[in-house]
Symmetry: C2
Subunit: 436 residues, 2 copies
């Protein structure tokens, strides 16, 4: 064991250590290093470490946490394991943490900090500055704004430090505060809070209840993590898995297999319909085996164009660029996009078959009809895939489901069956009397 | 036109207005509302509005922007259009903006704010506080930390306002500052800066050059947008499109078709190999048409499991949970995952065929061999898909490409061809002498 054992060294090694090695390493840190280390851990790891330490040895670490972080840590433990850790907090913090835990974890109330710089409207700038200094000493994060509250806690206005420092000392806070406030309620979804922060270019947004009483502040650093988490969930769903909720290398094998296997099995059962659909066209395939050759090409083109459209719409929805009521605009746009993309792929397919025929004469005397069948099917399949992929997120959201569940594999599966039907129908029309 | 025409109302209507209506609406706002409105616009829209106004009428709005925002706005204009707008800035800001524009837009240097609270180490706490008040008045964002610099601008330490306010007035800044600094260089990728901020739980990170000289500060609110942008790019790539770089409803039709068509065409050309592969097995299909029925089911299972694995690994890489050197750990894990998932799907497939056979006798006398062929192929295809999907992001990163290019459709295409080869090879082995 090296002499200069630091928080950083332990953090690097942490993911690959056993529970015992973790405790041992943590015990070896100096008090300062241990605090740095503990605060640098993820919420998930903090909860794990506290549980490994046991409540008796956890008091200094629980008290090191800000109320919102303490609430997060407790919420990542099983409910029955929380009480002994809750009991370690001082009374004031206990009240705040309990209040925070009552909020849904993904609502503004769940990520806000209940400690913020507060002022009364009737005091002077000079007194306000002195008062803010005292609040900063008491351990409140300084984030550019102080909030002006009525005695009943109603939020009256906001003033930036910059403005406060620049104002004549004898002026009243009420004279210089802004009253055109951007606020959220404690139930606002944290993703919406993040968008609002980004759009308004603010460092923090106050959280108020239905009566306009101030509850806390959500700062940009609280939502950077949120934005990242939500994106991770969406990406994992788009990839056709449930959200893992844990880092890839840390999630247990059984959990991972369950979260992936469930979706794969559902998709597989859906995809079985392709075997049924192919069964309907067994006679056609027996008569013209050549048709079978293009099945993967055609259905995958539908799946690819559908995945693409679905993913673009899912992300646009997550960013609030597209709302439910925009479905018709999106549908028109995607239909036109699908037409152009379908023509493109159809044309490439046509050329491919004509060139192969010219070189090797592999497609028999009716090669031109085969080529037209493939090209026509591609046009139809890509248009359908694009439209279905772009509309599926709207349908899911309309029925209260997560649009991101319109994963690439889900859309592909949906489009595969239809693709087969389109292909063999076009074939029946164009090849009836010749190959079929 | 309503009397109470506000910034908010114009913001809501903005996306659907013509250029003329936008100018007209903007002109109708009061000075205060116009400033609120302008600052609330996205960088892209700010640039657009300035260009519509023309340089003559843009001076107040250019000067309203912080240096980093001004640099962003200018960078979203064509290079030849920038000079007249640059000329509107005051000399000090012009220097800062030009320096910022020299950085890559996605590096720390490109998002940092060159204005921050600075202190000398040898002054007392009392003087430091007075000095910081003066800086705040000069319009510097207050974000909890002040940076302690040597005369040559080398970053010596950092001190929070909280600590400064709590310290005895006569102590020296150098006595209370922290010297274990978390810094980034001006070339650090902005995504890496965001991760560092989240990991360390900081509101801001100082940017230093190779000699340790302070260049600026990246604050959490700068990177919330970055995190969102990067996630959007990754999601769009995973969905099998190029990154749109513009909101879905605002990007021009031709641009969108180009960005989507290019990838679809590449995937289509790759997918053509399936027709070639199927061609190799044309004789087998002609002899046992029943084999063709399961082609879509089998190749899509490979594609789905591959998309899933690729997406999880891409996201884990973007979050720095998984590094290049972890490839072997991931490979072992995914091989095992693929084995379990393959057994699961193989079993479902086996049961499906046996049940259908029991009910309708659709698969002929060799149904058991067919069922085993399908089940065995599913096991092989899912294992291959999972392994290929999880390794592809590593290969891409190893060769300097973006791992997110391992899109769901790309992986599916890659796995389709192999899936066909696996399927027909298993069929030749199991069905040789009976059906084949």
């Amino acid at each position: 064991v090296p002499d200069t054992f630091t928080a950083e060294a332990l953090l690097d090694a942490y993911p690959i250590l056993s529970a015992e090695e973790r405790l041992e390493g943590f015990a070896m840190l100096s008090a300062n290093e241990a605090a740095d280390f503990f605060l640098a851990l993820s919420t998930h790891d903090q909860a794990g470490l506290l549980q490994e330490l046991g409540p008796e040895r956890s008091r200094p670490w629980m008290r090191l946490l800000a109320p919102d972080d303490a609430a997060d840590v407790l919420q990542s433990m099983e409910p029955r394991e929380r009480p002994p850790f809750l009991a370690l907090l001082d009374m004031a913090t206990l009240g705040e943490v309990t209040a925070l835990m009552a909020y849904a974890e993904d609502a503004a109330g769940g990520v806000m900090n209940p400690r913020y710089m507060r002022l009364r409207p009737e005091i002077s700038v000079e007194i306000a500055i002195r008062y803010l200094r005292r609040q900063a000493i008491r351990g409140i994060e300084v984030i550019d704004y102080a909030y002006v509250l009525a005695p009943d806690m109603r939020l009256l206005g906001v003033v930036s430090f910059r403005e406060l420092f620049a104002a004549p000392p004898e002026r009243l806070v009420s004279d210089i505060m802004h009253t055109d406030l951007v606020t959220v309620t404690d139930e606002t979804d944290q993703e919406a809070v993040a968008h609002l922060l980004i759009e308004e270019g603010l460092l923090a947004i106050p959280v108020v209840d239905a009566e306009g009483r101030m509850k806390g502040v959500v700062t940009a650093d609280d939502v950077v993590g949120v934005v990242q988490e939500e994106a991770t969930e969406d990406i994992q769903k788009i990839g056709g898995s449930e959200a893992l909720d844990e880092p890839y290398l840390q999630i247990g094998f059984a959990d991972m297999v369950r979260k992936r296997g469930r979706w794969l099995a559902v998709l597989f059962v859906g995809e079985m319909l392709t075997a049924t659909a192919m069964g309907f066209f067994e006679k056609e395939i027996a008569r013209a085996v050549i048709l079978a050759l293009f099945v993967p090409l055609i259905i995958s083109s539908g799946g690819n164009s559908g995945s693409q459209a679905a993913t673009l719409v899912i992300r646009a929805m997550a960013l609030s660029e597209v709302r439910l009521r925009d479905w018709w605009r999106v549908a028109r746009r995607e239909l036109l996009t699908g037409l152009v993309l379908g023509l493109l792929l159809g044309l490439i397919g046509l050329v491919r078959i004509l060139v192969w025929q010219a070189v090797g004469e592999v497609y028999g005397e009716h090669y031109l009809l085969v080529a037209l069948t493939v090209a026509g099917s591609l046009l139809g399949v890509v248009m359908f895939g694009t439209l279905a992929g772009s509309m599926l997120p709207f349908v899911l959201r309309r029925f209260g489901a997560d649009p991101a569940s319109a994963s690439a594999p889900f859309v592909a599966t949906l489009v595969d069956v239809t693709g087969l039907v389109i292909y063999f129908t076009v074939a029946r029309i164009l090849l009836g009397g010749t190959l079929l």
